[in-house]
Structure formats: structure tokens, C-alpha cells
Symmetry: C2
Subunit: 410 residues, 2 copies
């Protein structure tokens, strides 16, 4: 008798974004004339820049030839892409990485989820609250947790509240944990961590033989020169941290699909008999056995991001989104809304006016302003009373959304 | 203290294909002038046909516009691709599927591996021997097995020997199993199963509440009109079978990456409290939480396979490979080698001459003929004494490889 993985039944409701999609579809079906502006799901909207498009087309043309045809590539990604990223994106930060320490994937969501495969189930995991739901849900699905309590906290996960009191930077856990998820610039709060702040975490991890999962999906949006882009800018991090990066937001690849993981050779775990074992080796085995590499033309397109022309054009798009962020942040602040983030991150984390719940504010914005955002409580109990707006929209939509909200809140 | 997933340490040696790659690299480094012909890894070599290339380019061009830009798509794939596959590839077989029953992915290797996520660990799994190593290794990695014995059989897996005596079709297991992997046309043996044969399996599964994982990655290579292309051609299969298909071999997508899974709504498992639960729902939750959809231009390219022009061009490539298969099969048979497969499948499964071991024959072919194949023992203990040649090479290479082998074996 085939038995299901019962852990899935512990999951509360649907995954956040499909639920938002459902409510929006219902609203637009009932109100076909409403001009709905979507600043919810954090999906990019700008076209790919010319240098990246050209590389993409050229790679598709390679597939039209017998001599340049690309079949199975290395499961962990092509050297020419890995080395371009190391050279152009890590070296300038003072971070040296080996080719063997980077793995190209079809996206950061998959990587953040799949990395759990190589860890024992009895590791204690600490995640922020609010948090990108994938961190929480994948731990539930793999069977690391008990049931959720009435608040939505799952047994055996250590939640680290991020709120106004601690400026949305979690405190070091008081109980011992083995795996710590950190995401800076943060999704959903838009906050960043200084080097001194990250140093505390690296020191904790090294002192406790813990591993940090550092999600740097939004590093390209940092504007403050003192804020680290990679955890490896922190001394000792190569001994304890696995870093995730994505082309989704950086280069507009949400539909194209490319991400990467850095697993330094020095990051070690312990076997049940107490020996040290390299997570890099395990991740290589996992990657070669369960994955077949990111699409070849996609990897070529990703490599073009790091050409001089590609990077200049990519930066222009990032600047465009960050100008959107400024417009949202300043507009709503002027309307009396308390806003966080939006300076080094493409997300504005706002306090719902009048103490409304996050979903009530979601429904209010949707039905009264026809603007879609993301309810803070969807990211965890500490997100209740907050709301995320994304800066990834079209400029004219962003301006109009802000005007509508300002008028509505007057 | 972060603990590793110890199950990985049970794995024997590296994954088969990286090991072949290693030996070939060593040989070519030592013999830079050798003209090595690769008929090993089963990677395609023909360029993508014009209709597919055009759709691929057009989709990349969509990403250059603001109005046709495609960001996050549905995690489970676009309806226009799913419905094209249902209409063009399943309907003609007499198989009706709902859009919600098909999930588009970045490849069948990932799907075959990831499907285990939604099954409880204490299900008993039956796999063929020899077998595509991913089935075996992913069960080891997820923790369903004990250690391997000296032969390479892992405890708690039921192995179903496929050999000359049973014409490489496994017998029904004598002990009760919950999950059965079937692959027809078979990798590595190239054998196919008749409807009557598959009916036995479907009846077994329905009688025992077991689930069949049916890997149909090579269905497009079937030439005999009586051989089923889908398990759903068998009555009752929609109650018990999950089917995997791939664009890798069918349409030359090994580097492009696209596959699909069919999880009919009627396929049910049991919770630990004895209720019935739909695997389709679980797979949807898994897909939306751990995956972000296959690349948009890739899905557009895949859809073009099902246009009249695309399908005609795709068929020509399949015919090209099957002519290669005929050349290998007939050439080696004429040289006195016993060959299986190669009629309804792109693989020729040959008996090593003079009772050599598979790896000895691999080394002999590599060093004496400069031809790369795949050792049968790499697919499991019952593959010992056999060897797989792939029909996916360039015609002139295939002809030359066969000539070299014939001359060598004289």
C-alpha cells in the first residue's frame, strides 16, 4: 500500500503566492474593468537588456549547428559561467572562490529547498519571522518539524522574530541551533545587515559548528557601499556559510530561470559516527544525481550579464527599480505610512495603517485601490500588521499605485 | 553541530556517467591524437530543427518587449504547452488527461528523483536490475535503504532481475511492494513491453494499492505499432501510475532541459491514519513550493515540437537515430555479437564477447577502438557481462565505430 509523505499534511493553507493569485483572479473576474496594478509577487517587468538578449539568441543558434550543439552539460554548470561570476562578482568584494565551490542551477527557490537534502533530519533549524515561506515550508515537508501551533509556528523550528524593536535584524538564538537561514537584503522586510552584524552570526556558527544558509538573492540592489554583498566578505564565513544567489531579480530572469549556490570546500558537517565531512562533496553528489544542469542558452545569457555592456545595461534596470522603490517609500511616508526597506532592497515593508491585519489591508488595497501587495502575515506571525510592496513594477504603474493609495488613505 | 545526511555515505562509487567521463578524459589526455567516438552517455547530437529554433528565438524576443515579457510562470507549466502535449501526444493514443494532471519540469532526471519527496519513507520500492542508476541512488540518498551488499544490492530495495532468460522483462515481485519503477522502452536494455505485459503490472498495482512510476522517456522511438507509448493505454493505469516523459531524446533537448510528469487525480496513497489522499495534490504542493517552472523560452520551444512542421522535423531526427541503431545492431550482429534492443529504442544492449566483464570491455573499446560505450554493470549487478551503445551519434561516427569494433573483434 503506497503511503504518502504525511509531513505535507502539516502545512497550513496554500503557499502564499498562489493564494494571492487566487484572490486577485476572483476580484478581476468580478471586476473586469478594474485596472489592477500588481506590486505583490515580486516579479520583474523590465525587458531583458540587448547584450543579454544577443547572447541568448547566439546560444539558441549554437543549437542549430552540429559543431556548436550543446547537449548535456556539466550538472553543476559550465566553467565559463562559474568563472565569470567569480571574477566579476566575487573578486571585486575581495572574495576568492574555486570553480568547484560554485554550482549553477535553475533558480534560487529550488536551491534553498534542495539544500536540505544533504543535511540530517535531526539538525535544529533557525529561521527568521517573517521569512520567505520556502525556508519554513520545505523544512515541514521534509519532516524536520512537528505540527504548527495556533500561531503558525512549527514545533522543532527556532523562530527568530524580526520586528520594529530589533530593527528587523534577528538576535542570536538562545538555544543551540545547527542551521541558520539569513537573508540580506531581506525578503520581505527590505532590511540589510552590516558587516559587524554578520560577523556575530559567523562567529556564532563557527563556535557552534552550525551552518549558515545565506540568501543573497537581492545583493545587487544594495546602494550603501558599507553593506556587504556576500557573507564571504566576513572573516571565517567560508568555514560555515553556504550562499545562494539568483539572476531572477538581478537580471530579470524570473521567467528565464538561473541561480547559483556557493558551497565552500571548508564547510563541514558531522557524520553520525562523529567524522567531519565536506558539504561540497555531498552537494556535488546531489547535483550530479538529481539534476541535469541549467538550460545551455540560459547559462549563456547569464554569462552575458558579466560582460561590460551587459553589466552596464543590467545596472540601468536595477537603478530603474530602485527609483521605483524611492517613489513608493517617499510617497507612502508622505502619506503618513511608516515604511522600512526600499533603500538597499527592492521591497518596501510598511506598517498597515490603523493597526489593520495584513490580509484586511490586502483586501482593502485590492478592492479600493486595485493594487496588489503581499500581506506581511503570509511571511510569518511577526509579519502581522505589515505589508510588502515590490518595486519591480512599471514606472507609470508604480506612480499611479502610490497616488491611489495616498488618496485612499487621506 | 550540523549533521550531514549519512545516507549519502552508503552510495557506492560515483554516479556512473561522471565516472565514464573521468576515464575518457584520462585516456584523451594521454592520447591527444586519438579520434574518440562517444556512444556512451546517450547524449543527442543532431541540431534542433528549424520550427523549434524559430519558436525558441521568438520567445527570447518576447523577453525583449514590455508587453510580451514573461516573468514567473505557473510553477507547473504553461497551459498552452500542457494542452498541446495532451492533444497531440496523448489523445491519439486514446488517453484523456486533464490539464491539472500534467506538470512541466526542467527534465525527467529531476522528476524521477523528486517524485520520492511525496512518498513516505517506509514504502517498499521495486526496481529493475539493470536500471537507470537515478532510481536506485535517489532511494539510497533519501534514506529508504540500508547498506549495499558486496554485489551492490541495497537492503530494503526489491531488485527485479532483467536478463536473457526473461527477455529483459521483470517478473512480478513475489513479496509485496508499494512502488514499482518501470521503464519502457527500457534504458539500458532497449527492450519494450507489450500491452499484455503492462496489463499484468497495472493489475498487480491496483490489487496491491501500489504505485507504478512509468518512465516513458524513450516512447518516441517505438516503431512497432502494437507497443504502447503510454502506460495509460492500459485499462486501470490512471488509478495507479505516474508517468514521466522527456523532451531530451525526443526533441534533442538534453542541453535545453524540459520534461513532464503525469499524475492522474485518481492515483491515491494512504496517510498514516489510513485515509486516502491524492498524489496529484501533493505533487502540486511540492511543485509550487520547491520549483519555479521551466524556462519560458524553453517551454515555447517545447510547444513547437507539437506543431505540424515541428513534429515532422522532429520525426526526421528520430528516424536518423533509429537508422543509426539499425547500423549498430546489424553490424555487430554480423560480427558475431549478441545484440538486444535497437528496434523500438535508441539503445543497443550487447553481450560482451568472450564473457569479459563490462568495465574490461569498456576499457578495451576505449583503448583499442577509441569508442566510448556504457558498461552494463554500471546499471546494476545483472548488467554485468553486457554493454550499452547509444544510437545518438553522428552517422559517420556510428559507421566508423561499428567498423572499428568489427575489425577489432575479428
Amino acid at each position: 500500500m503506497a503511503k504518502i509523505n504525511d509531513n505535507y499534511l502539516k502545512l497550513k493553507a496554500g503557499y502564499l503566492f498562489p493564494e494571492i493569485g487566487r484572490r486577485v483572479r476572483e476580484f478581476t473576474a468580478a471586476n473586469p474593468d478594474a485596472k489592477v496594478i500588481r506590486l505583490g509577487i515580486g516579479d520583474v517587468t523590465r525587458p531583458l537588456p540587448p547584450a543579454i538578449l544577443k547572447a541568448f539568441h547566439d546560444a539558441v543558434d549554437d543549437l542549430a549547428t552540429t559543431d556548436r550543439f550543446a547537449g548535456y552539460g556539466p550538472e553543476q554548470g559550465y566553467d565559463w559561467l562559474i568563472n565569470a561570476i567569480i571574477e566579476k562578482s566575487y573578486k571585486p568584494l575581495g572574495v576568492d572562490l574555486k570553480t568547484e565551490e560554485m554550482f549553477i542551477s535553475d533558480g534560487s527557490k529550488c536551491d534553498c529547498a534542495n539544500i536540505l537534502d544533504i543535511f540530517a533530519l535531526d539538525n535544529v533549524v533557525a529561521i527568521g519571522d517573517p521569512v520567505y515561506p520556502v525556508y519554513n515550508d520545505t523544512n515541514v515537508m521534509i519532516g524536520r518539524t512537528g505540527e504548527a501551533d495556533e500561531k503558525g509556528y512549527y514545533k522543532n523550528i527556532v523562530y527568530m522574530p524580526c520586528n520594529e524593536a530589533n530593527n528587523f535584524i534577528p538576535s542570536l538564538p538562545t538555544s543551540k541551533v545547527d542551521i541558520i537561514y539569513l537573508c540580506f537584503p531581506n525578503n520581505p522586510t527590505g532590511t540589510v545587515a552590516s558587516k559587524a552584524e554578520l560577523k556575530k552570526w559567523v562567529d556564532y556558527a563557527n563556535a557552534n559548528d552550525a551552518v549558515i544558509f545565506f540568501d543573497a538573492a537581492y545583493e545587487a540592489f544594495i546602494t550603501n557601499p558599507d553593506i556587504p554583498h556576500s557573507i564571504y566578505e566576513i572573516e571565517g564565513a567560508k568555514k560555515c556559510a553556504i550562499e545562494f544567489r539568483s539572476f531572477s531579480k538581478t537580471a530579470g530572469f524570473t521567467g528565464v530561470r538561473c541561480g547559483l549556490v556557493v558551497v565552500p570546500e571548508e564547510v563541514m558537517g558531522t557524520t553520525s559516527t562523529g567524522e567531519r565531512y565536506s558539504f561540497n562533496k555531498l552537494w556535488l553528489r546531489r547535483t550530479t544525481t538529481k539534476f541535469n544542469g541549467a538550460s545551455y542558452p540560459v547559462q549563456r545569457a547569464a554569462a552575458a550579464v558579466y560582460t561590460d555592456e551587459g553589466w552596464k545595461q543590467t545596472r540601468e534596470i536595477i537603478d530603474y527599480y530602485m527609483e521605483n522603490a524611492r517613489i513608493i517609500r517617499e510617497g507612502l511616508t508622505a502619506a503618513g505610512v511608516t515604511c522600512y526597506g526600499g533603500v538597499d532592497a527592492p521591497y518596501i515593508w510598511l506598517k498597515t495603517p490603523g493597526g489593520m491585519t495584513s490580509w484586511d489591508f490586502f483586501d482593502k488595497l485590492l478592492t479600493e485601490c486595485n493594487v496588489v501587495g503581499t500581506p506581511g502575515s503570509g511571511f510569518g506571525p511577526s509579519g502581522e500588521g505589515f505589508f510588502r510592496l515590490s518595486a519591480f513594477g512599471h514606472r507609470e504603474n508604480v506612480i499611479e499605485a502610490v497616488e491611489r493609495i495616498k488618496k485612499n488613505l487621506k
